[in-house]
């Protein structure tokens, strides 16, 4: 019954409430030493990378639960480990060689590899999986195509442990393309047992039930909440990982993720905002690993279909009007590689590389007048809401700077889902910010996707016949070919001069870990490879 004495009334209840909270915060005995707890912004929406509509975080499943024929090596030391795009190492394939005059690869599969259910991994499984990758269409097929693999006929089972990939023409990209997340090796017996006439590739089944032979198995998946991996103790395709159990939890709020890792409730926090990474690194209590992402730039796209942008001088004017340092400070917090201020005429065959532009308002104004826009013009700046962390401050600073040369802008925040349609499919955004990164670390690969008319990531509608022919010739060309370097340099020079894309900086992938945790490797696919983690 209520005691209507106004004095202790409310105090009593407050006390009881506080007591309830503190009493319930007793510490439970901690089996956490055997598990790793990782927090990320968003999680997978499917266990099957070949399925259409599968999101990027789902790629971690392909990496951790399935094997590929080969993988990339690892370079670096301490907490600056990174994949090595120049080294291909065995995974399921113990060795390989080029046959048929360099038009086919023959892979010798390891004999002791088994799937989780104990059945041996054979070349038939590899063929079924690769056929699936090129037949289902969508992103997986496109990625396979990048390596020259388009038809099931190209995949040949020589014998139980020998598998052949036939190429239509020799390409330096084929072997690396076998190391990306897409060409996974699925347990075809299990998959076929769960296929139907309407669904011969078992997409319904594999969507929720992975069937692989990778280092980790599925313990539990609650979509939208968490994914729990448990180690496959008989994994033979590499060094057996140390962690027996890995919990990957979705925590949408970046500041909560930071709080969790600072308080010690999470072991690893993936994809930190640059500001958090910088501050946590300075504080020194946590290990912060921040290495640059290969073949990726945060850049400004200028759609050449938009009136004023047809004129190269206008584009160059904008390149001179960008407040590069301010953007680098406010959006990147100094973490990453600056991509401006290069020496004009000094071009190397690496990508990305600093463009020969600097913040020079006078020069920008002069160029605009030359181009015939003494009074400037109006244009909206479009940014992807999903990346607002860096796109918003960048856009605000851009807006301010462009106003100085007479270009009036408004800022359009476009939600992630529509971004793809508007920017990449319709290619209708006039002035926008982009962050494309190529998985295979070659400049020609980047140019293929971003500078050829009609290709997906060419949101600028840029069309240059010379660039196109250079890319066509160079893409399959081996790096040690005498023509390779000159071609790449020429491509880059054209890009620098025409500047439909203004590079701002090369971003880093930031990860924070508890002091005893190590083994994080920065991969091009930007997802978490949990196989290398160790914990003291």
């Amino acid at each position: 019954m209520y005691k209507i004495s106004s004095k202790n009334f409310k105090g009593k209840w407050a006390f009881i409430l506080a007591a309830a909270i503190s009493v319930s915060s007793f510490v439970v005995a901690d089996p956490r030493k055997e598990s790793l707890v990782v927090v990320t912004a968003s999680g997978p929406n499917s266990m099957d990378i070949h399925r259409s509509g599968t999101n990027r975080p789902s790629y971690q499943v392909a990496v951790n639960m399935y094997d590929r024929l080969v993988s990339f090596g690892i370079k670096g030391s301490g907490d600056q480990l990174k994949y090595d795009s120049n080294v291909i190492k065995p995974e399921l394939a113990a060795s390989w060689k080029l046959v048929d005059d360099g038009l086919a690869y023959e892979f010798m599969l390891r004999k002791d590899a088994t799937f989780w259910d104990g059945s041996p991994v054979t070349a038939d499984d590899v063929k079924w999986s690769f056929d699936r990758a090129v037949s289902l269409g969508g992103f997986p097929s496109v990625q396979m195509k990048a390596g020259g693999m388009t038809k099931p006929e190209q995949f040949v089972v020589v014998d139980k442990h020998t598998f052949k990939v036939v190429m239509e023409r020799a390409s330096k990209l084929t072997l690396p393309d076998l190391a990306v997340p897409v060409p996974i090796i699925i347990n075809s017996k299990v998959a076929k047992a769960n296929a139907t006439d309407k669904d011969p590739w078992a997409t319904e089944y594999l969507h929720k039930n992975p069937a692989g032979g990778g280092a980790y198995m599925l313990e539990n998946w609650t979509p939208g909440q968490q994914l729990i991996y448990k180690r496959f103790d008989n994994w033979k395709s590499g060094t057996l990982p140390q962690m027996k159990r890995v919990v990957v939890r979705e925590v949408p709020s970046a500041s909560t993720r930071r709080a969790l890792v600072e308080r010690g409730d999470a072991d690893v926090s993936l994809d930190l905002p640059n500001k958090d990474a910088k501050e946590l690194a300075t504080k020194g209590k946590l290990t912060v690993s921040g290495t640059s992402i290969d073949n990726t730039i945060h850049a400004v796209g200028l759609n050449v279909d938009f009136g004023p942008f047809k004129n190269k001088k206008v584009r160059q004017a904008i390149a001179y009007a960008m407040p590069y340092q301010k953007i680098f400070d406010a959006a990147a917090y100094g973490r990453g590689e600056p991509m401006w201020g290069g020496t004009p005429g000094d071009v190397s065959a690496t990508w990305p590389q600093p463009f020969p532009y600097d913040t020079n308002i006078e020069k920008a104004k002069a160029l605009l007048i030359e181009a015939g826009y003494p009074d400037g013009f109006s244009v909206p700046i479009s940014i992807n809401l999903g990346f607002a962390q860096w796109t918003e401050p960048t856009a605000i600073l851009m807006q301010e700077s462009l106003a100085k040369i007479g270009i009036k802008t408004s800022i359009n925040k476009i939600p992630g889902a529509s971004w793809r349609t508007k920017a990449l499919v319709e290619k209708g955004l006039e002035l926008h910010l982009k962050n494309f990164g190529g998985w295979l670390n070659y400049p020609d690969y980047y140019f293929f996707w971003a500078y050829i008319k009609g290709h997906l990531f060419n949101s600028m509608n840029y069309d240059n016949a010379e660039v196109k022919s250079l890319v066509d010739v160079t893409l399959p060309m081996a790096v040690d070919n005498a023509q390779y370097e000159p071609n790449v340099k020429r491509m880059i020079s054209l890009a620098m001069d025409d500047v439909p894309l203004i590079p701002l900086w090369q971003p880093t992938l930031e990860v924070a870990m508890q002091p005893g945790v190590s083994g994080y490797v920065n991969w091009f696919h930007r997802q978490l490879d949990i196989r290398s983690f160790t914990k003291e």
Binding site: E262, K275, D276, L397, I411, K413
Partner: protein, 281 residues
């Protein structure tokens, strides 16, 4: 009229909190009107060299992540927020009272249809409806106003409907009709003015609501476009900086926002007391 005035003074004297609310209200309106000319810095001017600095003598509320002066931004945001709140509320009052009066006066089919429409709008969680509308129409200030107005319309329909239907059959209305006034004139000139007092309460409460609504939309990314200054978006973005220690980014806009909503809520309460002492809550 004189009695009404005396009554108001009496209510306020009994209730010091109400006086406080009125003073605060006037302060906010003043800030909204003249704030733009009185602020020490250009609220849009960035200066990354002095980003994220704590409050100091030169920057009373500190600086934000782009080096802009937080105090200036908070002051000019007053105009944006009060603008959104008043426009939305005025719009929904206009539409809602018209519909509700028609429903209450004519009854029958008009009442049924308007009643169902109200039920449908009220069936959606208000904030969710606003969210959906802004996502579908785009996050411009106009759309935020329209969305906020729409979700508040049912309140006005209900209030004006019940007030009008109660007064409809009163003698003075019958007299006005018999002396040749059309229905609409009777409704607009004779009935409606008497329904104003309870409406004032709603207006005040809904204004506070509208501000919170805009803040909520900002939190999920559907707020006003950058670089506009609006309390809600400053709180939403500033909240991310709490953990890293830049407390001033969220505290000052948050306090100012809270005081504004607080003031509107209190005003609404006081108006309710003035309007109908029997229904004091």
């Amino acid at each position: 009229m004189k009695n009404w005035f005396r009554h108001t003074i009496y209510i306020f004297s009994e209730n010091p909190v109400s006086i406080f609310a009125v003073i605060l209200f006037l302060l906010y309106v003043t800030m909204a009107l003249v704030g733009h000319w009185l602020v020490p810095y250009d609220p849009y001017l960035t200066n990354t060299d002095i980003a994220l600095q704590p409050p100091s003598v030169s920057h009373w509320f500190g600086t934000d992540h782009l080096g802009r002066d937080v105090f200036s931004r908070v002051v000019i945001a007053t105009r944006m927020d009060l603008g959104i709140a008043f426009s939305a509320v005025a719009l929904s009052a206009l539409v809602g009272c018209t519909l509700g009066s028609l429903a209450g006066y004519f009854g029958g089919w008009a009442d049924q249809i308007i009643g169902r429409f109200t039920d449908i709008v009220m069936a959606f969680p208000l904030f969710v409806l606003a969210m959906g509308l802004v996502a579908a129409m785009g996050n411009t200030v106009e759309n935020i106003i329209y969305a906020t107005a729409l979700i508040n319309i049912p309140f006005y329909i209900r209030v004006s409907r019940s007030e009008v239907s109660v007064r409809r059959n009163l003698p003075y209305v019958q007299a006005a009709l018999q002396s040749g006034n059309s229905h609409f004139r009777a409704l607009a000139m004779h009935i409606f003015p008497n329904t104003l007092p309870p409406l004032m309460v709603q207006l005040s409460l809904n204004s506070g609501w509208a501000i919170l609504n805009a803040a909520g939309l900002s939190f999920i990314g559907l707020g006003v476009k950058p670089p506009e200054a609006e309390w809600g978006i400053m709180v939403a973005e500033g909240a991310n900086y709490m953990i890293s220690g830049e407390w001033w980014l969220v505290l000052f806009p948050g306090l100012v926002l809270m005081m504004a909503v607080f003031c509107f809520n209190l005003l609404g309460d006081s108006l309710r007391d003035i309007v109908d002492p029997l229904r004091r809550t």
